[in-house]
Amino acid sequence: MTEPILTVAGVSKTYDSGTVALQPTDLAINRGEIFALLGPNGAGKTTLINIICGIVTPSSGTITVDGHDAIREMRQARRRIGLVPQELHVDMFETVLATVTFSRRLFGRSGHSDYIEQVLRDLSLWDKRKAKIMELSGGMKRRVLIAKALAHEPEILFLDEPTAGVDVALRRDMWKLVHKLRAGGTTIILTTHYIEEAEEMADRVGVINQGKLLLVDDKDALMQKLGKREMDITLSEPMADIPAALSEWDVSLAEDGRRLRYVFDATAERTGIPSLLRKLADLGIGFKDLETSKSSLEDIFVDLVADKVAA
């Protein structure tokens, strides 16, 4: 096992107001991996990222970036990190090329480089390089932020909620870019509150809630652990009550009885789906549509927290 590229040890944040944004946290990020920090809004994801990037001063703990202490060897540590913030913080009056060049210089590199052109082309921004940022759409502004973060050729890229409020096309582009960067050796840490995003992109997932890193695990292992799924059955005729004959399945009614929702464990040997459908047929209950989905993040947290309490 190689040394982690990023180590977070005992890092916590308590604001002056007394609010605990982050409880003491340990985390090691492997070189070249895509790590997703998964949690609801206000869970402490951004706080953790901002502490690592030097924007927020931690109340305790140390951070080591590729062997360099983030405070004592600030320059070596920060040069390796690029950050794409959640909000669209850009200089409206600057041109795309000027602001990306600014970022590259700010991180200690010469402004003249073919690399900037490469980054802008990869992000479909090259044609817009002379445009003022205020003239760009929201999605384009987000691309500019990514270009700025990549401008100094960082080894670790932080993406704070990269697809929040982003349309489907850009989201797909973003995922493609992340995979491309990873193929080039960049370590990527992203925060998200979409479980699909973590599932689509990450190698490992950390689940954070209420300032506490609840668990860190390989994505596949985690998805299996959290593999609760829902099946929505759209009924032909609305139903007033659930027939007693269905009591052995975990079913509930939704949308004024037009849908029957069945919660099951996808990892269990028997999901109970075939028998449920047979039973519906026996009872003469018709349905128009079937849809299964993973349980929402909220359900997962409920499970996780319940598990912790039980353990």
């Binding site: 001063t57 000027a98 402004g111």
Partner: protein
């Protein structure tokens, strides 16, 4: 040393001024011309010489100081306040750039702009009144020292300010009155007591006096004292800035 980083900030700040070049140039030239028409032409013609210097010429150093102080503060304050306001400060805070390097970029640019402005005002003044500068070296040194000190002060204001009102508060409500009462348009010898003594508590008196000395060879207070007060103020601002970055006050939450 992150020279690329300092250069980036410096260029960014200078570019900001270039975008409003018209305003940056025309405003001081127009304002100065108005002062000369009113104080030099209309009122000055009825005034006696001040310490052997024609009144129109006498107000030149004070006039330059007035703009130098307010512009140094505004430039540096907006420079650091704006990233805070727009949120782009995240990039500065996460960059491998030390506090002093960041200050060098912002304060360096603000100083450059104010010194250029001072020289523009000086050139404009030369159209209206005869000018002699007895100690040109000292004049430039004073111009620089004052611009640096007040750009540093502006940087502190910019970090401190939580909104645009606070940003304008200090230049408008503190510096302008202090400059008007600091002997920009008169020698404090012309004041009756106790105002003459009270004036000595106004730090701007020392700035204007020192600057005027470099023009006419005499000021209200000794040149050494003027230099000492200016340097002391500069040092104080440096200490405050060092503290700001050490604690992250108003920059990091």
């Amino acid at each position: 040393m992150n020279t690329h980083g300092i250069w980036a900030i410096y260029r960014f700040e200078m570019a900001r001024a270039l975008r409003t070049l018209w305003q940056s140039l025309v405003t001081p030239v127009l304002t100065t011309s108005l002062y000369f028409i009113v104080f030099g032409g209309a009122i000055g013609s009825r005034m006696q010489n001040v310490g052997g210097v024609d009144y129109g010429s006498f107000i030149v150093p004070g006039l330059i100081m007035l703009s130098l102080l307010t512009q140094s503060i505004s430039n540096a304050a907006i420079g650091i306040y704006f990233p805070k306001f727009t949120g782009t400060i995240y990039e500065l805070l996460s960059a491998p750039i030390s506090a002093m390097e960041m200050v060098l970029g912002y304060v360096g640019a603000a100083t450059t702009k104010s010194v250029l402005l001072g020289l523009i005002i000086l050139a404009t003044a030369a159209f209206f009144v005869p000018l002699r500068i007895e100690h040109p070296g000292a004049m430039i040194a004073f111009l620089l020292l004052t611009a640096i000190a007040f750009s540093l002060f502006g940087f502190i204001i910019g970090v401190w300010a939580g909104n645009f009102e606070q940003l304008n508060f200090v230049p408008a409500l503190l510096i302008t009155p202090l400059t008007f009462l600091g002997g920009a348009f008169y020698s404090i010898d012309m004041l009756p007591q106790p105002w003459r003594t009270v004036s000595l508590f106004n730090p701007v008196v020392y700035l204007v006096s020192g600057f005027r000395w470099s023009f006419f060879g005499k000021g209200d207070v000794a040149i050494g004292v003027s230099l000492g007060v200016t340097a002391g103020f500069l040092a104080l601002c440096l200490v405050i800035i060092a503290w700001i970055f050490k604690t992250g006050w108003r920059l990091k939450n």
